[in-house]
Amino acid sequence: MQLIKTRKGRISATLCLVTANLFSTTGLPQAQQIIGGTNNPQARDQSDMKNVYNQPVNELGTITLDSAILFYKENGGRVQAIEPMASFTYHTENDDIYSVKLTYDSLTGASPYGAAPWKAAQTFVSPTIIEGSETMTGASGGTIVTDALTGVTSVEKTVDAYTLPLDSGFRDNRTAIDFGFTTPLASGTKLSVGLNGSHESDYNSFAGRVSLAQDFNNKTTTVSVGVNYEHDVSKPLYGTPLPLSRMSGVMKGASRNKNVLSLIAGVTQVMTPDWVLQFNYSYGSAKGYQTDPYKIISRVNYLTGAPLEYLYESRPEKRTRHAVYVGSKLALGSYVTDLSARYYHDSWGISSFTAEASEHIPIGDRAYIEPGVRYYHQSAANFFAYYLPSDLILPQFISADSRLDSFNAITLSLSGGYSLSDDIELYAMVDGYRQTKAGQKGLLPGQDGRLKLFAGIDAISVMTGVKLKF
């Protein structure tokens, strides 16, 4: 019964606070009085105020080691990943912050080719890759074949009828390192710089960033701006295919580059003693190779839907992104409600909306749990298609990559932390993630509903970590 009363009180107080702050934007004096009312200690639940997560953050003169491991698995034998990460942060007495973070990704599984399913088995071909004395198929389950005329060897993989064509046996490793440094320049001003790089067998990325943050109004307002520049090199295992060329076992072209300039500007405002609001705008401009060299699209008979040939996909070499983000943290007693929303639009015609909500719930003196939900929606890129009908001439750009399709996604999550002592914290998270088709479902010519074109995923993530402070 006590719990129910507390909950009702919290909901009422939340509504009062939100209403009060909406009124405060109009300058109504009574609204200010309501805000003051939320500072009344009696309005808060005092029973759990001793919780360690209510302590103020004090990092001056500390070294923090934070290590975690993420396990990620998609249903249907698709991608699995194991991602250990470790960071080292030294926060000096002078408020300088030095940080290093190492991340390693190990991925295995199967990834959609982009080809449409069909009523009969389909065979896909790719070049063989020879590394040292070992012939790699790039994936398991393939058969090495030799062309009788040219002598060229290639790998063929066959996909069953009525199944989404997946490139099975996919595997990749990624190692990434990030260096960061933050220092106070003058009263209320902080400069942050950073460098990061990552290496995969078929992709390298290098980036540098600079940002400035300035406090105003007794540190209740922080304005920040930042710039990040990234240079990526794509070097596919069997070379870069010519966009819209036929899938084949012949080795492809040289590696390709991409450069990304990103800007971010934001304001963080302490609205009331219990409420922090953050508002960001980010801009990104990517130029260069942005096609996925492993993705193809089926060219099909425009009457029956039967596959005629498979073409490598083609994407524009320019992409401009805009995103606006609003985040809110509202404390009521020892509980904290976290809400955020993001609107995104890019020059490929994709618009998306993301909303997240989670609740920090203290447990006893040393622990918390945080259930959360995330909703995501995106529209399709203007060059997205499940297939190319044979009666259409080739467009300049076309892709069947499911990440450019229109879909909704829901994440349900539960995370939590437990402080063994003031210097040791254990934490964990479990996420369930599901994508579902948004809008009208696609159908191949021939209207066979058993041929599912949407390639969305259903995944689970489990993560656990430990934070040590010295």
């Binding site: 702050n21 405060s24 934007t25 200010q32 805000i35 997560y53 209510n54 953050v57 934070d66 975690a68 993420l70 990620y72 991602e83 995969e200 990325s205 007794n218 540190k219 209740t220 307002t221 990040n228 794509s234 990304v260 971010i264 304001v267 963080t268 302490v270 609205m271 009331t272 003693p273 219990d274 922090v276 508002f279 705008y281 990104g284 992104r321 805009h322 995103a323 606006v324 983000y325 985040g327 404390a331 904290v336 993001r342 995104y344 890019d346 994709i350 998306s352 203290p362 995501y376 990440r403 996604a409 995370s415 932390g417 934490y427 998270m429 996420d431 993630y433 995923i457 995944a459 970590g465």
Partner: protein, 72 residues
């Protein structure tokens, strides 16, 4: 698109600027708590952002929109 960004910007700035100055330095004990930090657990945030970046088309907003990997 531009109109939406302008509306968001004006709304955000109006809310932020019109509600300032009410909080005094000695009233900042709650916002200084561990549980009130905007990025309370950087590893959890980074792991989630990495998964979403590799499975969805949208990026950015909370941070820079670069990905630093060939996953998308």
């Amino acid at each position: 698109m531009k109109r939406i960004i302008i509306i968001f910007s004006l709304l955000g700035l109006t809310v932020l600027l019109s509600s300032c100055a009410a909080v005094k330095p000695w009233q900042r004990d709650i916002t200084a708590r561990k549980s009130m930090q905007l990025n309370k657990n950087p590893n959890l945030t980074a792991a989630n952002d990495h998964v979403y970046f590799s499975k969805e088309a949208a990026a950015g907003g909370r941070s820079f929109d670069g990905g630093g990997c060939g996953c998308n």
